[in-house]
Structure formats: structure tokens, C-alpha cells
Amino acid sequence: MLRYIARRLAQAAVIVVIVATITFVLIHLAPGDPFSAVMDNPNVSEKVRETLRAQYGLDRPVPEQFVKYVNSLAHGELGWSFSHDRTVREVLGRALPNTLLLMGVALVGSFSLGILIALIQVARRGSITDHALSGLTLFFFSMPDFWFAILALLAFTYWVPIFPVGGAVDPVMHEYMGFGARILDRLRHLALPAIALTLLASASVARYQRAALLDVLPADYIRTARLKGLTEREILRRHALRNALLPIISLIGLSFPALLTGAFFIEKIFAWPGMGYAVVNAIATRDYPLVVGGVIIGSIMVTVGSLLADLLYAWADPRLRSH
């Protein structure tokens, strides 16, 4: 088991290094100049721009920039975000908790909702409810994240304005609220993006879980349970669900990329100040270090997610424990 963990950790580290290299190479092929982005002003001279470029080391050859970059990466530094005038670590460090909060809520929400839907479907398999829910989950599963987010935004902040528009808190009044009111303010702002991401993510959980339950149902021990006189519902709860939970663990690991991708669009559209929001905005200002930093952190999140899921799986599955 220990050796398994060590091997998985080493794998994860190699992956992160490869990811850093790939993204750096890709983004540094860009032809633009990040500093001209802010200048709509005929009075700014080229000399000023050159000074700015020299100051940020952009006049160095790309290999040199890369060596610098890898070196600082090893020290936990992701570079300097010039669109924020802060270190990338600071920018992403500020954004990451928001992304993790959003993804965490959506993860718990979508697995609860998804499993619930699957149970209902399997309990009444073949019924109209089952078919209707299948259609619904397929619909959500097929929906582009950004399109659903746009519709949700339109519906609940514009047509029926019951949610605040964007942000994690009320920017004007939050600092003047009491403790309770602040919590409420945060929840009000979290609600719509979290619900949207939950609904999007629960579709694949429900579909996966329904299939997993149906796979397990004809198994011998369930037939035995049926013979013992257990009701269908009890069989589902006590036997089928327990056996179908193992695949759930690996599904958690697998669902990370989709969840993160979804969070990117959701954050952009609901102005949720997380990592996706920071990275998407950095694209427009061509803030190289911030985009690369975001891609690396995102990949680390996915790697760690699948690592944790694998370890959890190894721990939960007695067959693998002896490994």
C-alpha cells in the first residue's frame, strides 16, 4: 500500500512538470505584447513601453525565461501577474478558496442529487418517472455549461430578479454588515452559481449511478436477498447501493476535470471571483504568467483529485488493499 502511494505521488509530480512545460511552450509562442493592452492613448511613447518590457524580463530569450520560470516554480512561485500588479500566487491564492468552495458545494450537491435521482429511477425502473428523469438528466448532460449559465443568469437576475448579480459578496454593503448578515450575504451570492454547477454536474452522476445500480441488481446475492423476502426498496438501499458506491469513488476522481471546466464558465458568467474568472480575464489582457499559473493549478487540482480518488478506492476496495 505504501509503495502504491509513493508510486502514485511520483507519477503525479512528473505529470505536473510535464504540464508546466507544455503550457509554457504554448503560451510563449504568442505574438502579442501585453503592455500595449492598456494604451488607447496617443501620448504614450515606445520608449515607455520598452522600459516596461525590460522591467518584466520580457526582453530576455524564451529559454532563459523558462529556466527562470521553472526555478521559481520549484520554490512555489508562479511569477508576477502584470495585469494585477501582484504575484500570481497572491492572485490565485485569493481566488482558489472561492473556486474550491464553489466546486466543493457542487461536488457534494451533485453526488447527493445524482445518487438520489438514480435511486428513484432504479426503484421505479421502466416507469414514466424513470423515463422522464432519464430524459431530464440526458438534457442536462448534453447542455453546454455556458449556455445553461446564461439562461440561469437571465432568468433569476433579470426576469425574476431574486438573486444578486455576480460577485461573492455585495461589494457596496458587505463591509458594513454584521456577522450573521455577512454569512447570509455570502450564501445569497453563492446560491445561483452553486445551484447551476450542481445541476450540470449531477446529470452525469445520475446517469452513471443508474447504470451502476442496474449492473449490480441481477447479482446473485441480491437474488438471495430477494429470496429472503426483502422488499425491493430494502434491497436497493442495503445491498445494491453499497456495492454501487465503489464506482462512485472513482467517479469523483473522474468528474474533477468536468467540474473544473464547468466552474470556469460558471465563474465567468456569474462573476464569481475564483480561479476560472481570473484566468479567463487574463486571456484578454494577455497576462502570460497568470494564464500559465491557472492552467498549472487547474491541472494540479485534477491530478490531486484523481490521486485522492485512487487512494480512497485502494483503501475501500479490499481486493486492492493488499497491493
Binding site: F139, S142, F146, L260, T261, V291, V295, G298, V302, S306
Partner: protein, 296 residues
């Protein structure tokens, strides 16, 4: 799982007349839901192909940029008009053409790469296989959207061809792993050993015996891959780094109206609905195919 694949491999050797593809098609046509999906997809594809004949207006023409812009849906313009007075229905029809084309072409690129990479890795084995798989792990750890953002930011002025290429280049990782697994399983299968014993060359074995058995995962991956690319392309176009302006793709039309989303709701709703419909049908079909191949 390995037992099943060997089974089907055995049947295909025994009955060379019916190709695995035909088996798949025959099987899924038994299900009414996949018949509906095939029909609807057929209609959408037909609409795309016949776009010049069907579209009521020229999708690029701006008949009157003052009086005819931003019109809500009406009889003359069932999907309304956009801020340039262009007919949204016509653009959605042409958009079907472009979005489907991008989806199919990008998927062809992914399939080629995925099968090649997986087959080489699985067939070579040993250190090569291990290295190739580690690299694959790295690629799989970067969410596809993030990877594409990195690429498209680096090359901001992309032709459609390059966009297709990049969408394809980032879509083969999952498939190649499945292919490798299949190749590994088949490598030691009896009929392959037999062929080798009979003196068949490596290439012949790959081409005649191994590849036909990969048809089922490829067909499934292709169907789901097209759906995925359509959604991705729309997302990228929505972020403004996908299909360039004069052309119409579904994501592009939504992007055109995105700065006035509250007033021009028809520009987000209709192309989005059509996109969801297409993707749903592709997903139904992909799963029916998977079922057809996996459960005898």
C-alpha cells in the same frame, strides 16, 4: 471485460462477412430511442448540407442596419434578427453546417491520433509503452478546455482549419487509452497467436486482426467525440476565441448577442436549443452503440 472482447473477436473471425459496424447499426436500430436519434440527426445533417437551399436569407447580408436590426421573432424572421439586421434563422441553419463540420473533422483527427498512439503503445509494450502512458497521464490531467485556452491564446488568429486541428489534437487522449487496452488484450488472444504462427507479418496482424476489433470503441468514441467538440467549439466561440466573426457557428451566434443578452434573448435561446438537441441525439446514439457492443 476481456472475456467479452475475446468473444466478439472470435465471432468476427468466424463470420467475416458482416462487419462490426454493420452489427452495431443492426443492433441499435432495434431500439426506438436510437431510431428517433438517428432520424433527428439525419434531419439536422441534411439541413446543414442543404443550408443554401433552405435558409430564407443570406446569413451574411445586412439588409437594413437601422430598421431591421434587433428584431424579436416574427413570421418574417422566426428566430429574430441580430444587431446587424441579419436573419438569425438563416445563421442558425448555416451554423449547423459549420458546427457539425468542425465536430466531424476534429473527431476524425482525434480518432486517427488516438488509434495510432494507443495501438503503437499497446503493441510496443515495455519501456516505450510506459513512457507513452506517462505522457498520456499528463495530457489527461490538463482539462481539455484549459489546454485549448493555452493554445488558442498563443495563436489568436486561427483559421477554421487550425481550430479543427487543435480541437482534434486535444481530443484523443481518452480513446488512445482504450485502444491500448484492447490491443494489449488482443495481442495474446488465440486467433492472433494463430495468425502469427501462420507467418503473418506485424502489419498484417495489426491491419487484419487487431484493427477490426477496435471498431466498436472507435465508433462509440466518434459519436460522443462529435458531441463533445460541438459543445467545446461553442464554448470557445462564446469566450471569443473560436470561430471568427463573418462566419456563423452556434456558439458564435450566442456570442454575437452576448453583450445584450437581456434584450436579445432569442440569439442565445434558439442556437442553444438546437445545439442541445444535436448533442442529446449524439449522446443517445453513442450510448446505444456502446450498449450494443458491450451487451451481446
Amino acid at each position: 471485460m476481456p472475456g467479452q472482447t475475446q468473444d466478439s473477436a472470435a465471432t468476427s473471425v468466424a463470420r467475416p462477412r458482416e462487419s462490426p459496424l454493420a452489427i452495431g447499426v443492426r443492433r441499435i436500430l432495434r431500439k426506438p430511442s436510437s431510431r428517433v436519434a438517428l432520424f433527428v440527426l439525419g434531419v439536422i445533417v441534411l439541413v446543414g448540407i442543404l443550408a443554401p437551399l433552405i435558409a430564407p436569407y443570406d446569413p451574411a447580408a445586412q439588409p437594413d442596419i437601422v430598421a431591421l436590426k434587433d428584431l424579436p421573432p416574427s413570421l418574417a424572421h422566426p428566430f429574430g434578427t441580430d444587431p446587424y439586421s441579419r436573419d438569425v434563422l438563416s445563421r442558425v441553419i448555416y451554423g449547423a453546417r459549420l458546427s457539425l463540420m468542425i465536430g466531424v473533422l476534429a473527431t476524425i483527427v482525434s480518432l486517427t491520433l488516438g488509434v495510432a498512439y494507443g495501438a503503437i503503445s499497446g503493441y510496443a509494450g515495455g519501456v516505450v509503452d510506459a513512457l507513452m502512458m506517462r505522457l498520456l497521464d499528463a495530457f489527461l490531467s490538463i482539462p481539455r478546455l484549459l489546454l485549448l485556452l493555452g493554445v488558442l491564446v498563443a495563436w489568436p488568429r486561427l483559421s477554421i482549419g487550425a481550430l479543427v486541428l487543435f480541437l482534434g489534437l486535444t481530443g484523443w487522449f481518452g480513446l488512445s487509452r482504450i485502444v491500448r487496452g484492447q490491443v494489449l488484450a488482443l495481442k495474446h488472444a488465440e486467433f492472433v497467436t494463430a495468425a502469427r504462427a501462420l507467418g503473418a507479418s506485424r502489419r498484417r496482424i495489426l491491419g487484419r486482426h487487431v484493427l477490426p476489433n477496435l471498431v466498436s470503441p472507435i465508433v462509440v468514441a466518434a459519436t460522443l467525440g462529435v458531441a463533445h467538440v460541438i459543445v467545446l467549439e461553442a464554448g470557445l466561440s462564446y469566450l471569443g476565441i473560436g470561430v471568427p466573426q463573418p462566419l456563423a457557428s452556434w456558439g458564435n451566434i450566442i456570442q454575437d448577442g452576448s453583450d445584450q443578452i437581456a434584450t436579445l434573448w432569442w440569439m442565445a435561446l434558439f442556437p442553444g436549443l438546437l445545439m442541445v438537441l444535436t448533442v442529446m441525439m449524439l449522446n443517445i446514439l453513442g450510448e446505444a452503440l456502446r450498449d450494443a457492443y458491450e451487451r451481446r
